[in-house]
Symmetry: C2
Subunit: 240 residues, 2 copies
DNA sequence: CGTACGTTTGATCTTTCTCAATAATGGTGG
DNA sequence: CCACCATTATTGAGAAAGATCAAACGTACG
């Protein structure tokens, strides 16, 4: 369940078992529902067992910005374990199963087991690295590059969890949400997707994105997987 | 020296002493020099004792994006302690003093002292929170708001370290760098600054920014200090 | 005192947004 | 199973924010 941690850090069998022994409560959540809202005071840490979710903020003007997309296996809420008030909301994208872990036992575990602590720091740092890349994406790339880049990122992250094949993947969000993630409008995202398609870089059937020229897409999106800091054993097939 | 940690987390005297006992080497660095470059493999963790620095990436097209500004007292390199390869560069803005801490003793310390581990996680999470706000700033706010927001952020962060008064502060960077931080061009940043000045929100003498209408600036910048997750004892005078 | 760097200003051009309308698509209840 | 509704996707035309290009002006510093 906490395979997120395991995927970057080698934990001892002992440590693994300790993680598995954590008390959890499973919940099903529907698309559009909020796991937590900005300003809430969280009482537990959640893991996204299955389904997709986004981290988002809303500006004073009312526009939304998505800062991260959580994929199955992600631990969502370390922030909320240590920081008092949530600085952003987490919204469910697709029908999801969430495992809630109460605050105290997890804190205690981190206190007792430095290897798990280190794994949490590690995972948090990778998240920060992805955030830095998003700042670049949204701050310094044009619309084509932004969209291409985010598609590349999804492909690689999903493949590492065996949720995508080398062919392509099912995009778990609407074009409007893609726009909120790239700092564009949905209209423009639509035009960019169309142009990427007519130029033969991708093909689409509904939300399924197929990569017809991965190399070129990567180029346009200025994408390099370095910032994802994946351990070699993350890379299942290394198509990308 | 590691007052960054102390400022959010209450550590025992024992833990504090352990941090102080860490072996360090001091270095002076000049503006423009790099503490680390993207792709480097770091061997130590650094603390910015005095001076300013930025985290930045360069896109394939050659434009720069600044993702964070480090202020005196910041621990700069936890990322590099856990992640193998640096995903971004750190460049010095003003004449700075850096304290290098070798990797091993620090890792050992974290392993032995869970409270320090927790403090590191905490500090890393705050950095991530600031990054999320930057994504929003650059993704969903117009030029005026971006510039106003970043000015507000500096003011509050600097004041918390007693490096700014309620009046204003010395901006440690050029308008070009401000542009790289906000995803704009230096020309446009200049125009925005001018307009903020003529409208009486700020006044400038060289790089010194004085707040003549803090409330209005905060409004324009859609700024709220929540995302900085400052403990109450951070807030020295609470001008802002 | 000259040179390099940073700031300021103007004119023009592009990308992307806005507004608006139409077409698909999927889900729902009858 | 089908008709209807709500959401999402697509397309067009015009507007605007910000980029680009170019030049002049300051200011610090050797």
């Amino acid at each position: 369940m906490l395979r997120d941690l395991l995927s970057h850090s080698a934990l001892s069998e002992d440590d693994r078992q300790a993680v598995r022994d954590l008390p959890t409560r499973l919940r099903k959540l529907d698309p559009g529902s909020y796991l937590i809202r900005e300003g809430d005071v969280p009482t537990h840490c959640s893991v996204l067992v299955s389904g997709f979710a986004i981290r988002l903020k809303v500006t004073g003007e009312g526009s939304r910005q998505i800062m991260a997309v959580c994929i199955p296996g992600d631990a969502i809420d370390f922030q909320n374990l240590f920081l008092g008030i949530s600085d952003h909301a987490i919204q469910i994208l697709t029908r999801s199963v969430i495992a809630d872990i109460p605050r105290e036992p997890l804190q205690e575990l981190l206190f007792k087991r430095p290897a798990i602590s280190a794994a949490v720091i590690h995972s948090t740092l990778i998240e920060a690295s992805i955030l830095r890349e998003w700042v670049v994406n949204v701050g310094r790339r044009d619309a084509r590059a932004r969209v291409a880049h985010i598609l590349c990122e999804f492909a690689v992250r999903l493949e590492a969890r065996e949720l995508a094949t080398g062919e392509g993947f099912e995009l778990p969000m609407t074009q409007e949400q893609l726009a909120d993630a790239t700092g564009l409008t949905s209209v423009h995202v639509n035009r960019v997707l169309k142009s990427l398609e007519t130029e033969g870089l991708i093909s689409r059937r509904r939300r399924y994105i197929q990569f017809t020229d991965w190399r070129a897409l990567q180029n346009i999106g200025d994408f390099s997987r370095r910032y994802l800091h994946m351990a070699d054993h993350d890379v299942i097939t290394q198509t990308y």
